[in-house]
């Protein structure tokens, strides 16, 4: 056991955990004022529900490798048999805690697709099912000893581009499709400072995500750290410039979205590319995600992915996965490197991982939600009246802010 690595991984775990409230504020600032509590709670409650699922059975399903390549075993149920003192550099229990934070934020990311109208009680059940049936298996495939991690050529997903972002991005499409469009989406985000606060917390937290995924306080973690920041910075500035070119103004929400796009894209690559590789990844992410948002691609198909989860996390994640195959640097990957080094192995393996994840997560998420929609007493959508009044008061009995004279 190395105390320095334990120290860093305790910190990294907290950083990733803090991302979920960061996301809560990011999303919360983007919706209408009457739905801010609800939007915050979609993310915040995931810290409760997904933690419990992870401790009880999620970690076991994802990381109790029994060699079948598809899904883990049950030996780590309740985190039993997960040592708090022994492990590979850090205690196994710390690894379980670190991975838990990923299982929390991934479903929270999805909620951006269905804010302002998704039934909260159904959502609680969705959380349990989705972490169990979608997140845990995909996580197992990539990191838990499953078949994607074992692909010839070597699928590279340093910190969860596939497991987290593509996975959430495509589930968001299914959810937005099934829940239907908002009745009245309003015009502007109701609280830009919340968006900036959320983006700042996400940016900071993401260093735990990416540099933490090295699971040690070493040089690769440092490289992942620098790459994370570089991609975020570049994508933010790219978005600012594109915003200025197209509109003559520089949207703060756009810059914040650029930050997230850069962070998403560098996630799978973080410890496997050099600084200038991350620069290129940030550049691509800024351009791709900006135009995906700019042209409202899903909205034109009639799918109200309200906060553009697919455009940012789905497309950003796909770009990142492919870019990892392009820019992977042999010295870091201990392989022949990416396309820039003339090796297509990683690129192809990552492409397979992307396609399979899109299919699996898209289909299973769709089925889960479809079934929940049909179960009497559940259903995905609140009533039209409740939606008009605002979900804060109708589902949570609260208003975001109270500022009338009588309070």
């Amino acid at each position: 056991m190395d105390t320095g690595s334990i120290a860093w991984m305790l910190t990294a775990t907290l950083l990733v955990l803090f991302m979920t409230p960061g996301l809560a504020f990011f999303y919360g600032g983007l919706v209408r004022g009457r739905n801010v509590v609800s939007t915050l709670m979609y993310s915040f409650i995931a810290m409760g529900v997904a933690s419990i699922v992870w401790v009880l059975w999620g970690y076991s399903l994802a990381f109790n490798d029994t060699g079948n390549g598809i899904v883990g075993g049950l030996e780590f149920i309740g985190l039993s048999n997960v040592s708090y003192t022994e492990g590979d550099g850090i205690p196994d229990l710390l690894f379980a805690a670190f991975q838990m934070t990923f299982a929390i934020i991934t479903p929270a990311l999805i909620t951006g697709a269905f804010v302002e109208r998704f039934k909260f009680t159904t959502y609680l059940i969705f959380l349990v099912l989705w972490v169990t049936l979608v997140y845990a298996p995909v996580c197992h495939w990539v990191w838990g000893g499953g078949w994607i991690g074992g692909l010839d050529g070597g699928a590279l997903d340093f910190a969860g581009g596939t497991v987290v972002h593509i996975n959430a991005g495509i589930a968001a499409v299914a959810a937005a499709y099934l829940v239907g469009k908002r009745r009245n989406p309003g015009v502007e985000p109701h609280n830009v400072p919340f968006v900036v606060l959320g983006a700042a917390i996400l940016w900071i937290g993401w260093f735990g995500f990416n540099a933490g995924s090295q699971l040690a306080a070493d040089g690769v973690a440092v490289q992942a750290f620098v790459n994370t920041n570089t991609a975020a910075a570049v994508a933010a500035v790219v978005w600012a410039l594109l915003s200025f070119i197209h509109t003559g103004r520089i949207s703060a929400v756009g810059v914040a979205t650029g930050v997230v796009a850069g962070l998403v894209a560098v996630t799978p690559a973080a410890g496997w590319v050099g600084t200038m590789g991350s620069f290129a990844i940030g550049l691509g992410a800024g351009i791709i995600c900006h135009y995906a948002v700019h042209f409202e691609i899903l909205h034109k198909l009639g799918i109200d992915d309200s906060l553009e989860v697919f455009a940012v996390h789905g497309l950003g994640g796909i770009w990142g996965a492919l870019a990892t195959g392009i820019f992977a640097w042999g010295a870091l990957t201990d392989t022949a490197g990416g396309l820039v080094n003339g090796n297509a192995g990683h690129f192809v393996a990552n492409l397979i991982a992307v396609v399979v994840t899109l299919l699996y997560s898209g289909i299973v998420s769709f089925v889960i939600l479809f079934v929940l929609d049909k179960i009497p007493g559940l259903g995905l959508r609140i009533s039209a009246g409740d939606e008009d009044i605002g979900i804060d008061i109708t589902a949570h009995g609260e208003r975001g802010t109270v500022a009338d004279g009588a309070d």
Binding site: V253, A256, E296
Partner: protein, 118 residues
């Protein structure tokens, strides 16, 4: 007594209030509103900040003051003088509405009539 309701650009609020005081107005109330007149609205970013949308109505300030009848012209002039931004015909500078107040009472003393607003 007359009630003057003036809708003005929010950024002009303090200028207008000072002009009112200079014109002898002793009391006023104001609050934020949103409104539309001839003005065409404004482009604002929507969603994740990738493109602009049109917002029809704009933030304005409603200034309300109750005055004795004889101050009407002076007050309207003061508002126009302080709220107007540019060359004649610039839209969005606001509107002034005048209506009748039957009676006014000062809570602290119970007195009524013109003296409550002078």
């Amino acid at each position: 007594m007359l009630k003057i309701e003036a809708v003005v650009r929010p950024e002009r609020t303090s200028t207008v209030l000072e002009a009112l005081t200079a014109a002898g107005v002793k009391g006023y109330s104001y609050w934020n509103i949103t409104g539309k007149g001839q003005q065409e609205g404004v482009e604002v970013f929507t969603g994740r900040g990738g493109h602009l949308s049109h917002r029809v109505a704009l933030p304005k300030t409603m200034i309300m003051t109750v005055i004795p009848d004889e101050m009407k012209d002076a007050v309207i002039e003061a508002i126009i003088g302080s709220a107007r931004t540019g060359e004649e015909g610039a839209i969005g500078d606001g509107k002034i509405f005048v209506s009748q107040i039957d009676d006014a009472t000062r809570v602290s003393t119970g007195e009524t009539g013109d003296s409550t607003v002078m």
